[in-house]
Symmetry: C2
Subunit: 350 residues, 2 copies
DNA sequence: CAAGTCGATTGGATCGATCAAATGCCGAGA
DNA sequence: TCTCGGCATTTGATCGATCCAATCGACTTG
């Protein structure tokens, strides 16, 4: 075998036409079974692979999806994006698509780059992550005609015109809070991020809802929300837990595992027996939380990735002549993973 | 603007030939400055992007590099691969290349997939990570004619025929050990992984070399190496640190930050004043280590990625007619980041 | 002044697939 | 017997760029 086999070379060595082989690969049902088998055998034997470039040039589809990756600012929460990325690649691969990575220094460079790749035909569409308030990317991509699906809801008030999948963070913290209430806790703090981030506010809202429904006193609730002025992190978690204890909290729901790890550090270090019994629930179910025995809310990341890919590829394969497709927008329920740190409130304490 | 502009449409609207525009983009120096400027202006105005597919079809180059990603088994150490991945994308982008991700269930499926993508012309070459003993991938890729560069040395005895870049782990643990020796410690333990993994053995060797050179007694050395039978992890670190303390160690060098985090957990939890003064140095300088104030050995990940990309792209752009290129193989020096946990040995202790 | 040199530009062929339309083939129905 | 419809297969055109060789004009040179 000297040269790489092509449709043409295969065809002449088999005594059929190029198109027949092409049909075997793309429309197997219209080819007679006997010739189909003969062609398939020869394809396998010769190790023939259709040229991605030629196919893409003619069919105007690259079978590639673009995604911007960001440096993980926090190694702990990075693991969620990591799992998402992996699931994305896997689902895409199952549907004969591949993932192309890009970096960008901001939202506007990101859409510019995605748009450039799209007009160059290098990608068919892209996946958006880390959506936030006043996110200009959906509008920019729509204007550029780049098909996309977002992982993360648009945090704007007005409904969006694009498809997105997100995790119901409020449901997660609600479940976590209800779980702690069920263990007898009443003064349950929420350790979160500064107001203004959609994700953080959502998670805080879940805690507040569960607390309100349980009929805790206004006083108990007031003891609760502790929002860091600084970034998410382990050190911040320790500080916040300290404040929460002083305010009388016997348990804490955290907006992230980083905060929860920090909180548990304080609880491990303390000599005060009562403080040491404080319950903590984290968010994201990272390996660190698992190792430390922290309960945590697990996001169905793989399921989210799968839905995102399906939505995007469905949109890509739908002929454009059809009416504007109705956007699909869905929230997935996270799941609480209980571990040792779910401490029951000791009834002998005040 | 109705249709996407092409070379042809641009050419006729400018009154020049396709080739001239092509030259402006690919060989600007051979085009007269005045026409070049005129063409460039029109390109910008029309938003023209050359079709990646057409270019790739003709030039037989896709400007894409393949990379297999694995699910992060450990969220902590995953951050190193994460940083590497990010640096890789960034460097590749700077040289007008993009990164394509694949998943695979093993080494053999990985090379099969990379080979398939390469013969399809979807990728020009690939980057190999997580090299290990008896790694069959270099040979398989070489046989398939897929250009590649490895991040991670081949752990075989015989020299390899391919280019690779790696981090000198032994130098890292050597530096860490010498640092602790300089602080007055003599009984320094090594908390590592079971023998047999190239990376782990390398890091252990660095500790052993530094200990041997410092003239510590055989007895001190014997107290040292604690290799986990199980996987790398936080819990294992705590156990190993406990054993090391009982054996009389006053400091520990760890093969990973996971182990170091585990070790520091024990030291924070203890009531024994002497144990609480034990020094710990981790490996990888992950955000968690930084947050906990652990000293750690930082790998020059970005530099490694940059060199890997450069080597690969240089190889891809070198005409094949040349003689077989000499493989470049290099070790990069890691750097110790000292933090609070570098405790000086208290001279009053035994 | 004709021949030769060199730089800038051009036209035709080509990469390897898919699309759209045409062809050949076969059996059913008038 | 002839026509028609449907299926399997083939043929020619096309996607949008690059490669290669040819062309053209201006400028040097013997």
């Amino acid at each position: 075998m000297g040269q790489k086999p092509t449709l043409q070379s295969l065809a002449s060595s088999l005594g059929v036409s190029r198109q027949t082989i092409s049909n075997v690969l793309n429309n197997p049902q219209i080819v007679q079974a006997s010739t189909r088998d003969r062609v398939l055998a020869e394809i396998r034997a010769s190790g023939y692979r259709p040229s991605a470039a030629a196919r893409s040039l003619r069919s105007r589809r690259s079978q590639v999806i673009g995604l911007r990756i960001r440096p993980a600012v926090d190694g702990i929460n990075g693991s969620v994006m990591d799992a998402f990325l992996h699931a994305l690649v896997e689902c895409a691969q199952r549907r004969d698509h591949r993932l192309l990575l890009i970096t960008a220094s901001g939202d506007e460079p990101e859409t510019t780059e995605q748009g450039a790749l799209h007009t160059a035909g290098a990608i068919d569409g892209c996946v958006l992550t880390d959506t936030h308030l006043d996110d200009t990317r959906p509008a920019a991509l729509a204007a550029a005609g780049v098909p996309f699906v977002a992982f993360g809801r648009p945090w704007q008030d007005r409904p969006a015109a694009h498809s997105w999948i997100d995790i119901d963070g409020a449901a997660g913290t609600r479940t976590a809070t209800e779980h702690l209430l069920g263990l007898g806790h009443r003064r349950i703090a929420f350790l979160g991020w500064p107001a203004g981030s959609g994700v953080g506010d959502d998670r805080r809202a879940g805690w507040r809802q569960a607390m309100a429904q349980s009929g805790v006193t206004a006083e108990d609730l007031a003891a609760g929300a502790l929002d860091q002025r600084t970034a998410d992190g382990v050190v911040e978690g320790t500080q916040a837990m300290d404040w929460a204890r002083r305010a009388g909290a016997t348990a804490a729901v955290c907006a992230s595992d980083s905060l929860a790890v920090g909180a548990s550090t304080l609880l491990r270090r303390t000599t005060d027996a009562e403080t040491a019994r404080t319950a903590v629930v984290g968010f994201d179910d990272t390996p660190v939380a698992a190792a430390l025995g922290l309960s945590s809310v697990r996001q169905p990341v793989a399921a989210a990735a799968s839905r995102v890919v399906d939505l995007l590829i469905d949109r890509l394969t739908t002929p454009e002549t059809d009416a504007r497709p109705v956007p699909v927008q869905d929230l997935l329920e996270p799941e609480l993973i209980p571990r040792q740190f779910d401490r029951r409130l000791d009834p002998t304490s005040p």
